[in-house]
């Protein structure tokens, strides 16, 4: 008989506790991000495909066309080409492409770069209808960037 009534009171108390939890949740700000219209800020640790860094002081990249990244790449997906120009010290970069369909995002190229000219981009919206859309022209990207 004693347990009959104690069950009523403990049960009722647990029901009220439950209601408190949900009413609090009702007035908590929602956590859903309505994706195409709202986007989260990407963490700086994010490893997208590689990109050349645009430096403030020179307004350009610091690639010296040494080809270390190309040699280091285990998947052979980087192509770097340069040429000698009159009045310019060293080689000038003319081609820097990345075949992202083969890239395994290992980061060996970023590690190998002697001038620290390479970094990971924060691109994550990667979708395409053809394979060629993933052949990135890294040099064009760095020139077009703000």
């Amino acid at each position: 008989m004693k347990s009959y009534f104690s069950v009523i009171f403990t049960g009722a108390w647990s029901l009220i506790t439950g209601l408190k939890v949900t009413i609090k949740a009702l007035f908590t700000p929602i956590v859903t991000v309505q994706y195409p219209r709202e986007k989260l800020v990407i963490t700086p640790n994010y490893r997208g495909h590689i990109d050349l860094i645009k430096f403030e002081d020179t307004g350009s990249h610091k690639c010296i066309t040494c080809g270390s990244c190309q040699r280091e790449c285990p998947s052979d997906c980087i192509v770097v080409e340069g040429e000698k120009r009159e009045g310019v010290k060293g080689k000038v970069l003319t081609v820097f492409t990345l075949d992202f369909t083969k890239c395994s995002l290992c980061g060996a190229c970023v590690e190998a770069c002697p001038t620290n000219a390479l970094d990971y981009s924060d691109e994550y919206e990667l979708a395409g209808a053809t394979r060629e859309e993933f052949h990135y022209d890294i040099l064009k990207r760095v020139e077009e960037r703000e």
Binding site: I8, L15, G18, L19, V21, T22, I23, A25, L26, T28, P29, I30, V31, T32, Q34
Partner: protein, 328 residues
């Protein structure tokens, strides 16, 4: 000609009542469908419908149009007449209780002196509709849902009736208007808190809503008695369910929360409807709130709760009420 003149005002009254009932049933389903999805979303920290219109406000209209456009599939082995009859039987009787509910002093279809009995009689036809639908579908899940629904509704109708009976003993009338009028100093929720609690629990069970939604338990019975229904026949069940929620909440408002009484607005005989609807929708909010709080009860727990707790308590409450009424 004389007779026509004499019945003409009554005819107008009937037409206005029928239109008003339809407006309430469909408008209530729209509001409740939207409120349910929106509140469910916010309780789970997500926004709910957001895409169609401002904050998804016309989502339910679009859903209604979609349901109207869908094919009515009748399973090959189903009992076709019963299968088609069940949604109509679930939907049609909800109009009658709306006629006797006093929305305010003057906004009432017909003030019958057996108003409460009319409401309870027509509300219990819903059980029959569910049983017919479950049986006619020729599907084991539907049949199990229907069986559970009948057992649950028959069990929970008893404490519901007994808790209302305590009020009837106090006011000595079945007329809803007179019950509402009898609570001018204090609402009956203060005098009869236990009856109110029992009525609320029984009301959730009667409308087959969580945590007592065993007839349509998704995880066990796919969708229970309406597993085989599609398109409009499915939405008639949903409309009937929401209208039943409105009716049981209205009865709770009339019997325990003072009906349309409140702070007097201009034209109080008519504008009492504002207070009435505010109370009804506060109760509806509570129903939605508990739906997204509690997990579903097991079937033996459901039956134990009714027969071992609700019915004895409501009987004791009735007994005390009767003794007190006799002594005073």
């Amino acid at each position: 000609m004389e007779t026509l003149y004499s019945i003409f005002p009554e005819l107008i009254r009937i037409i206005v009542c029928a239109i008003g009932g339809a407006v309430i049933v469909f408008g209530n389903a729209l509001v409740m469908g939207y409120a349910e999805r929106k509140l469910a979303g916010h309780i789970m920290l997500r926004p709910g419908p957001m895409e169609v219109g401002f904050h998804g406000i016309i989502q339910l209209v679009v859903d209604g149009l979609k349901l109207m456009g869908k094919q009515l599939v009748v399973p090959a082995q189903a009992d076709k007449p019963l299968f088609m009859l069940a949604p109509i039987l679930a939907f049609a009787p909800v109009f009658v209780p709306l006629l006797v509910i006093p929305f305010s002093d003057k906004l009432q279809g017909f003030d019958l002196d057996i108003g409460l009995l009319v409401i309870l009689a027509f509300a219990s036809i819903n059980v029959l509709a569910i049983l017919i639908g479950g049986w006619g579908s020729n599907n084991k899940y539907s049949l199990f849902g229907a069986f559970r629904s009948v057992a649950q509704n028959v069990a929970y109708e008893i404490p519901m009736l007994i808790s209302l009976l305590a009020i009837v003993f106090m006011t000595n009338t079945f007329s809803l208007r007179e019950v509402a009028a009898a609570q001018s100093p204090v609402w009956f929720v203060v005098v009869q808190p236990l009856a109110f609690l029992i009525y609320i629990v029984a009301m959730v069970a009667e409308t087959n809503r969580a945590p007592f939604d065993l007839p349509e338990a998704e995880s066990e019975l796919t969708a229970g008695f309406h597993t085989e229904y599609s398109g409009m026949s499915f939405s008639l069940f949903v409309l009937g369910e929401y209208a039943n929620m409105f009716i049981v909440c209205s009865v709770a408002t009339v019997f325990f929360l003072g009906g349309s009484s409140g702070i007097d607005l201009p034209y109080a005989e008519y504008t009492g409807v504002v207070w009435f609807l505010a109370k009804v929708y506060a109760l509806m909010f509570f129903l939605i709130w508990i739906r997204w709080t509690y997990p579903r009860t097991r079937f033996d727990q459901l039956m134990n709760f009714c027969w071992k707790y609700l019915i004895p308590f409501s009987l004791v409450n009735l007994l005390i009420t009767v003794v007190v009424v006799k002594l005073i």
